[in-house]
């Protein structure tokens, strides 16, 4: 038994020896490296060439590049040939073509030596996968705006409703959300700049209404910076850090305005993906808002108020965004159905106004009471024209600056929306 094992070991060792002694053989592929200077990796198999081998002599190599297949070739010198690892010869070139991406050129690499057969290897750039723009062709870059899929929260969204009836003037209600993230970071910082805004108009106006007005209940606008952290810890996929410098909070219906800065840490958990059609995401965040009240009303809903003590603003800011979606089995970007929910709670550390109207009686308090905001929406997008969707939205709670109370508001209607695709990033927390 022991002798059999010994024979096997000896045979295995001999086979390794024979394999190691297989002569060098040129491969038939070349990889272009966008280094400075440009280098080419020519693959080989078996043993690497030894010192003095013709394959390591620079003058035995002739390299040309062309911008187009039919162009005349441009000669470049091979100034160094080295063995790179166990499967590549690295050819260092000079002069380097003055192009941004050498992989978009056509390359010809010719090896010829008196004592060896010549070898010609051509490199053809891959088809311009990203040329042109299309919302639907996944091999192309997307234009700046595209219709959202069920898994996308729209970056730009305008939801409107119209109410008319006897004894009341029309009431128009609008909800606009907009965010634009620049696609490249500020050089050297890793911070992506963005502009963001949210406008809620006539969200809590009820009939009878004696005058048709467009009075924003809440406008927030901010210049924001976002930084990504890709470290994984357990089910945490990564983090986002968002800095809003500064944020404006304005209301025209009860003239008031705040200016705040905010810092948020967003926890991006791995998605729930148990089947090829259902998925869910959950992104909670914690943060702080701090700032100052700039002006405040003396009368709210015909009720005199004294908000002279309302000056500084310090709030904890906690929330989460979640979505549950059902996608097409063969195309995960094809819309079917989605349910999304947003929760925000602002926790003032110093007293802030809290406006509540119940049974047509308005009360205004200066308190540190938590200000909750809940928004949930169910969405079905038309397969034929995805800019338009049917949506049902539920809202409840209070929004800055005066935290006027929105009491269980349900909106059912059409939604005209688009997603900013050029950013390749995420939407901002608002």
């Amino acid at each position: 038994m022991r002798s059999n094992v010994l024979i096997l070991v000896v045979l295995f060792g001999c086979s390794l020896q024979l394999a190691a002694q297989k002569p060098f053989a040129m491969g038939n592929s070349v990889v272009v490296n966008n280094t400075q200077p440009v280098t080419l990796d020519v693959d080989f198999s078996n043993a690497p060439p030894v010192t003095g081998s013709p394959y390591l002599v620079e003058t035995n190599w002739k390299v040309q590049w062309r911008a187009n297949a039919d162009d005349m070739g441009n000669d470049v010198l091979v100034v160094e040939v080295t063995v790179d690892g166990t499967s590549h010869l690295k050819l260092r070139l000079a002069p380097t073509p003055q192009v941004t991406n050498a992989k978009k050129l056509f390359w010809s690499v010719l090896f010829r030596a008196d004592t060896l057969p010549f070898a010609l290897i051509n490199f053809t750039p891959k088809p311009a996968a990203n040329a042109g723009h299309s919302c639907t062709d996944k091999m192309k870059k997307k234009p700046a705006l595209c219709p959202p899929g069920p898994k996308d929260t729209p970056d730009i969204s305008l939801i409107g409703s119209f109410l008319a009836g006897g004894g009341t003037n029309p009431i128009y209600s609008l909800d606009f959300t907009g965010g634009y993230i620049f696609s490249n970071p500020i050089p050297g910082s890793g911070l992506y700049p963005a502009l963001t805004g949210k406008v809620e108009i006539n969200q809590d106006t009820k009939p009878p209404n004696n005058r048709t007005r467009f009075d924003p209940d809440s406008i927030t606008a901010a210049f924001a910076l976002t930084k990504y952290d890709d470290r994984r810890v357990g089910i945490l996929r990564g983090m986002r850090y968002q800095f809003q410098v500064p944020t404006g909070e304005l209301s025209r219906s009860d003239p008031s305005s705040n200016v705040t800065t905010a810092a948020l840490a967003i926890f991006d958990f791995n998605p729930w993906l148990q089947s090829p059609r259902w998925f869910g995401t959950f992104y909670p965040f914690v943060g702080m808002e701090a700032g100052r009240n700039l002006n405040r009303p003396s009368v709210i809903d015909q009720t005199p108020v004294d908000l002279s003590h309302f000056k500084s603003i310090v709030r904890g800011y906690i929330g989460a965004d979640t979505i549950l979606a059902y996608v097409d089995e063969n195309d995960p970007t094809t819309n079917l159905f989605s349910i999304g929910a947003t929760y925000r709670v602002r926790l003032p550390a110093v007293d802030e106004p809290f406006v509540e109207t119940l049974h047509q009686v308005t009360t205004i308090d200066l308190t540190t009471k938590a200000r909750h905001w809940v928004e949930a929406d169910v969405n079905y997008t038309l397969p034929k024209w995805k800019y338009l969707s049917f949506t049902a939205t539920y809202q409840y709670g209070d929004l800055p600056p005066l935290f006027s109370f929105v009491n269980h508001k349900v909106t059912i209607g059409l939604n005209l929306q688009a997603v900013q695709t050029s950013k390749g990033l995420t939407k901002l927390v608002q």
Partner: protein, 84 residues
Amino acid sequence: MPLTSSFCEHVVVNATPFPSRFEPGTAAQTTLFTLGVVDNVMAAHFVHSIKNAIAPLSIDNEDILSSADTTVQAAADSVQQNAF
């Protein structure tokens, strides 16, 4: 490390939330969605992971195919072709 197809595939798979769900040899059929790149947030982390993995080479965000219906093969090709 040369920017070979296999290296780019390795980088792409490891940038997804669930790299262990990838079966070797199925790059042309496996979509990023099945590996957990289900929305813009996951796509953003996917893109940043790739940028970190190929450093000191760089690549523009927009040049990395990161849509949920993109295959691992297409995403790897976009990295190999556009990194510089």
